[in-house]
């Protein structure tokens, strides 16, 4: 399939936080960005799309979702997010569960999402949820761009519950596992015979070994300021850990410490209610204040309809721009807001070289929009993933077409297609 395309005459957004440039061109060759900017030459013979001055951006990189592993949340057999009765935890790998034909994929693709971080959900008995993936939203049967891209862990109130009832239980579980992983490294064979009652099965140990070695990032859901500091302490003790904070509602209150530790964050954009006692300091200024303090922050949908509504990230990012006009609030300017849903979450996972922007060498995920992509109502008019143009229809557009006139015609609705 052709993976070469040039898009010209664009209001070009690179996605790295720089301002849009008028009259820009992006060239995708072999599925990767070859060049993007003003004055970029179009190679002879390449398919050219004239954007007509419209916004052209990288596809949205959804920072934290459960897309593709859930069809209907409340219909158990279609929901592969968690496994309450499984024998394993850290070993669980979402990659085989991703179904590119699940309805949230085309619905989100039609709204400009081209890649998503897909995390498993933790179950009672362990703070470790398993191995997440980065997926693409192509209309084909090969959705996984990066399997086993990270390990996901719960801390704070939910981690405490999963570990047995308290934060000390969660910390003890984590430290114990780190210690056992040293044993595992010395003598892997000793883990072969371990039963299900062991703290760490061989499969779980194999999944966690690259995490403590710093080869695979550890994403930890945490909200309260004091909990964040505990994790930063653990990072200090285990410097190889590639720690990424997920949530971090109270992050703004300890933003300097997070920045000093060089730990990136994937946060919800608009959490502003004290929905739990670990989120008392919630404010929509969290992302803006953390960024201002030097923290690398991307936006995700953490426990926020994450199986299906990553598309709302654009609206959320737009709201952060709105904050810049509210006295006392800290928002993001437009360029930073767009980066927070494209390059920043990719960089938070250590994948900024591959995804999230139109810098050369990144995947050729390019969207031509009919308006400002952060403004309500704007939609893609053309969308490419890995340089391949994608369909923009879904079950929803089909239902809309069938019922645009609700009454039956010559035959029942079931015959109208």
């Amino acid at each position: 399939m052709a993976q070469d395309v040039a898009i010209t005459n664009a209001k070009l957004v690179i996605g790295d936080g720089s301002a849009p440039v008028e009259g820009g061109t992006v060239v995708v060759r072999g599925g990767k960005v070859a060049a993007a900017g003003r004055g970029v030459a179009v190679p002879a013979g390449m398919q050219v799309v004239d954007a007509g001055g419209r916004y052209v951006t990288p596809g949205i990189f959804a920072g934290f979702t459960r897309m593709g592993i859930v069809e209907v949340d409340a219909v158990g057999p279609t929901n592969d997010a968690s496994a309450g009765n499984a024998l394993f935890n850290a070993a669980l790998d979402v990659a085989p569960a991703v179904n590119p034909r699940s309805t949230p994929i085309p619905i989100n693709r039609a709204e400009g999402i081209t890649r998503a971080v897909v995390a498993p959900e933790a179950s009672k008995g362990s703070i470790f949820a398993g191995q997440g993936a980065v997926i693409d939203l192509r209309s084909d049967l090969h959705p996984v761009s990066r399997p086993r891209a990270f390990q996901f862990m719960e801390y704070g109130e939910s981690g405490a519950q999963l570990a047995g009832g308290s934060r000390p239980a969660a910390v003890a579980m984590l430290r114990n596992i780190i210690a056992q992983l040293r044993d595992f490294a010395r003598n892997p064979a000793s883990f072969a015979e371990r039963g299900k009652d062991s703290f760490l099965t061989r499969a779980d140990a194999e999944a966690l070994t690259p995490v403590v070695q710093g080869k695979v990032p550890l994403l930890v859901h945490v909200e309260r300021a004091s909990d964040i500091l505990v994790l930063l302490d653990i990072k200090r003790e285990t410097p190889a850990l590639k720690l990424v904070l997920v949530g971090a509602t109270e992050g703004w209150t300890v933003a300097k410490q997070i920045a000093a530790a060089g730990v990136p964050v994937i946060a919800n954009a608009l959490t502003d209610l004290p929905v739990s006692f670990e989120q008392l300091a919630a404010t929509q200024s969290n992302v803006g204040r953390m960024q201002a303090a030097g923290v690398l922050v991307g936006i995700g949908t953490i426990n926020d309809d994450e199986a299906r509504q990553a598309r709302l990230e654009k609206q959320y990012a737009g709201n952060l721009v709105a904050l810049t006009r509210v006295p006392g609030a800290t928002g993001l300017d437009w360029n930073a807001a767009f980066a927070a849903i494209s390059s920043k979450p990719a960089e938070a996972l250590g994948m900024g070289e591959s995804f999230g922007s139109l810098r050369p060498g990144r995947v050729g995920d390019v969207v031509v929009w009919d308006g400002d992509p952060l403004e309500i109502g704007s939609l893609p008019v053309k969308l490419f993933v890995d340089g391949v143009e994608q369909p923009l229809t879904s079950r929803q557009t089909r239902l809309r077409d069938r019922y645009w006139t609700p009454t039956e015609g010559a035959l029942p609705k079931a015959y109208q297609r």
């Binding site: 509210v326 239902l399 609700p406």
Partner: protein, 478 residues
């Protein structure tokens, strides 16, 4: 206000208002008069108190205010560019192209800004499911039986929910209906509140607003009770329990109507049946959680069978499939812009739900059902409007604003009091710092009954609930 005072007085006259309620207050006097004479009851609607927890809401003082040079959506579909609105004594005084400021009137230049009626959310659980969402404060579902028409959402409202303040400051919400949850077929009574913090629920209660009855179709009741091995466990079980209950209500109403008219021995009081009698009487409005088109059609027939009307179907994900039927039944649909797929009955959601309803002439509106969504209902309507335009149905911004204020006011029975900027109505007003259909716009100032209760420029006009006092982030912009 006057109406509230009158109701309090009426209650005082019926000495039994605060009593045990089992014996109608008026009967004490009238019964002896009936002995041997022509039978006479306490009067229609006077058998027992209909307002035992009366509103004590009082508007806060405001200054006469004139906003000029502003884009106005009047809430009923009208628009004035570079117009003006004057409010004083808590009421809209005038609206027009240009109004002259009299002495003593505060003038606000609305250059580049928009003025609208306050947003009305017909579906909220603030106070009943407040923040923090801990078990100790979760009081929204009396999930101990499928028929709990006896419970009143107002008795669960925690007036310190931080969510009220967010809805005001970020969402421009000035009125909201608090509903019981949807675990039960008959969930209980709703209450309409003004979005003004008070020490008590009564202090927030919208004066003179009718009560609602929360009902629910579909998955929730059958799941909650089916999982306990009791009726209903199916959709047919749902309707069976509904009809049996309505049949009892009709009988209850017959007995009380007869007693109130003719006197004699008062029938036994049943708090649940009081509410259902009120529904059949037309005094209490049915607010019916229902997703699927086919179920809504069944409910509307059931309503005809027992002589009531559904004011609005809430959530109504498939309302678009039966827009014509809803119109014919004079029943509204309250919907989200883009929620879908979280449960089976939400599987067929389309973003054009509001568009198709409006195009077909059915009554439609936005709702939140969510402590976050309620802070951005203007944006939800912007999405729905964008979907309409894209599909070829041209609805103007000013007409789309009906989905945010006038239509919910109609469905709640308070459109004579609020929901549009008509002279004489409550001065529930939002000044936005730009076009409220843009993601880049936020409320600048919000007035409720003419009192300035939020001002983005003034930290002292930013509510901080008791719960947030002395906590991290107290008084932050949020």
């Amino acid at each position: 206000m006057i109406r509230t005072v009158a109701m309090v007085a009426a209650c005082a006259a019926l000495i039994g208002c605060a009593g045990d309620g089992s014996r109608p207050s008026g009967a004490a006097k009238s019964a002896p008069e009936q002995a041997g004479g022509q039978s006479k009851g306490p009067g229609i609607g006077k058998g027992y108190s209909h307002d035992p927890f009366p509103s004590t809401y009082r508007a806060y003082p405001g200054v006469p205010t004139l906003v000029t040079n502003v884009t106005i959506f009047d809430g009923e579909g009208g628009r004035i560019d570079r117009g003006a609105v004057l409010f004083r004594d808590g009421k809209i005084a005038a609206i027009g192209q240009s109004l002259t400021a009299e002495a003593g009137v505060t003038v606000i230049d609305g250059q580049g800004k928009y003025l609208t009626p306050g947003v009305i959310d017909i579906h909220s659980h603030l106070g009943d499911y407040p923040s923090p969402g801990v078990d100790a404060l979760s009081d929204g579902n009396e999930a101990t039986g499928p028929v709990t028409a006896d419970v009143w959402a107002e008795h669960s409202v925690w007036p310190q929910d931080p969510g009220f303040g967010r809805a005001l400051a970020n969402g421009g919400v000035t009125t909201l209906q608090i509903l019981p949850g949807s675990a039960n077929l008959f969930g209980g009574r709703s209450v309409v509140l003004k979005n003004v913090y008070a020490r008590t629920m009564q202090g927030m209660k919208f004066p003179g607003a009718p009560y609602g009855l929360k009902m629910a179709c579909g998955e929730n009741p059958k799941r909650v009770y089916g999982s306990r091995g009791r009726q209903p466990s199916t959709r047919m079980g749902n309707v069976a329990v509904d009809r049996q209950t309505w049949a009892r209500a009709v009988e209850y109403k017959r007995r009380w109507d007869k007693y109130e008219k003719d006197g004699g021995e008062p029938p036994a009081r049943d708090i649940a049946m009081d509410t259902l009698r009120g529904v059949i009487e037309g005094e209490i409005r049915v607010q019916n959680h229902c997703y699927r088109a086919d179920e809504m059609a069944i409910v509307m027939d059931m309503a005809k069978e027992f002589g009531y009307r559904v004011s609005a179907f809430h959530h109504a994900v498939e309302a678009y499939k039966i827009a014509d039927l809803l119109k014919a039944n004079d029943t509204c649909a309250a919907v989200w812009a883009d929620w879908y797929g979280f449960k089976m009955e939400s599987y067929d959601a389309v973003p054009e739900n509001l568009a198709i309803l409006e195009k077909e002439g059915a009554c439609a509106m936005i709702h939140s059902d969510d402590a976050n969504g309620i802070q951005r209902l203007n944006q939800e309507v912007a999405k729905a409007r964008a979907s309409a335009l894209r599909s070829g149905f041209d609805i103007s911004e000013e007409k789309a604003w009906k989905w945010l204020s006038y239509n919910p006011a109609m469905a709640l029975g308070i459109a004579d009091k609020t929901g549009s900027l008509k002279p004489g109505k409550m001065a529930d007003v939002v000044l936005w710092n730009g076009n409220p259909f843009s993601v880049y716009t936020r409320p600048d100032m919000v007035w409720v009954d003419g009192a300035l209760l939020y001002d983005a420029k003034d930290p002292k006009r930013r509510p901080v609930s008791d719960f947030e006092l002395g906590q991290p982030g107290e008084g932050d912009v949020k």
